[in-house]
Amino acid sequence: MAAESHSPPGLVPIAAALLGGGMLFCLPDVWAGKLRSAVHDLLAPGQCVLAAAVPQVISGPVAPSTATATESQWERQARYWQAEAAKLRAELTEANRVPTWPVAAIIPSQIQPKLRTARIIGWERPSIDEAPAAVLRAGSTDHVAVHDLVLAPGESILDQGQSQGIAADDLVLAGRSIIGRISRTSRWTSTIQPITDPEFRGQAQIVRLQDGEAVLGAEGILSGSIAGACRLLHIGTTDPVAEGDLVFTALRGVPLSPPLFYGTITWAELRPGEPDWSIEVTPARSGPPPSEVLVLELSHGLAKVSTPSSGAVRGVP
């Protein structure tokens, strides 16, 4: 090595590097996000190799035992039927209340759910106080988009079929727990915003168990909180809420018919002078997500609408 290469860098390079670092502080969020995405793409090949070679380095939790997995399958199945029962009960009440709808006016769902498995290859953790955000090996090239929901993995569990009015996509979605949603995508990677993130917001609905029967409860907004739990906002004090009630994605009037599970209400309090309940929801899955997750893509598809005269026509995409 030449002697001059051991000389310390001059003031100009140091000042330039410090200036560059300082400018990064002031980078707008959009550009900061792009920069982070580019770096994640750059690291993705190495992280994939690392995740495949030494899975424990990526720090996924220990895989559940068979007994636990079976138990969670039963739990999921139970949750699914509770939500379905509550939904049907609400629809029956509505059908009894209003006159019969013409058949042609009921437009089938034009949103097609598609699940894809994605491996977790890294973590973002700005501080110890915040929940770690997982980085997925799936990006815009895999059609993963911002706001796609991220679900817990597991096998499809239902033994029902078309005769029960369940579509193929419903089967794999039924009763699944939501881990978070995609907050940022790049070409080959995506970042998950966990549901416990303080900035997470999602439409939610309570399903109450009343005398052994599932009943649809109030709709609200699920929000993350720093404590690692979630809060259910905008539930009026006139609505009945109890600890142990289940919280799903909104079930009424939403084309995504299979209920997706957020968690269980573990604490609810009425504070004097406040118009809404203070509700804490414990997510179905606590801690970091497993080494693989499912990304739910909701794509707008073409649906056939049957009419009495012309048989079938194309729906609007």
Partner: protein, 158 residues
């Protein structure tokens, strides 16, 4: 050319190692800390830019405040350069102190900037303990590498 490629690969691998520690903050040693210290000792100018690039990669990958590790890295390597930390003049106590200081600055930079911006609290015993452990382990590894590789070279030269 081959040597440059090797050092770039080492930089990539060390960034990868430190990025994978996102979930476990107590993982040690700091691969980038060791890598940058060695780089500064060999080629101070390259060490400066290496610190800036590694800092940028880690800031972006960890999701923390962008620029914090760049500033910390540049400060640490500049200090290390001016301590004359290179193999021709290595003096162990001074080298150990300089290396430990540089690595500690490198590790504490994101926490300090976060504290300054009010994003997180820097008064936790666990964080200080984690930094101390990582600094100590990284310093020992750097010193061990120096002892193993460079002293042999010097002996051979003699």
């Amino acid at each position: 050319m081959g040597r440059t490629l090797l050092w770039m690969t080492l930089g990539y691998v060390s960034c990868l190692w430190d990025c994978s520690a996102g979930l476990h903050d107590s993982r040690w040693p700091s691969a980038t800390g060791v890598y940058l210290t060695l780089l500064v000792m060999l080629w101070p100018k390259c060490g400066l830019w290496g610190a800036a690039i590694c800092g940028l990669v880690l800031d972006a990958a960890h999701g923390g405040v962008l620029g914090s590790r760049v500033l910390g890295g540049v400060t640490a390597t500049s200090l290390a350069c001016h301590f004359s930390l290179h193999r021709a003049e290595i003096r162990w106590p001074r080298a150990a102190f300089s290396i430990a200081t540089a690595i500690a600055i490198w590790l504490a930079a994101p926490l300090l900037t976060g504290g300054v911006r009010g994003d997180l609290q820097f008064n936790r015993w666990t964080q200080a303990q984690s930094i101390a452990t990582t600094t100590l382990s990284s310093t020992l590894i750097v010193l061990a590498i120096c002892a193993l590789v460079w002293t042999k070279r010097v002996d051979r030269a003699d």
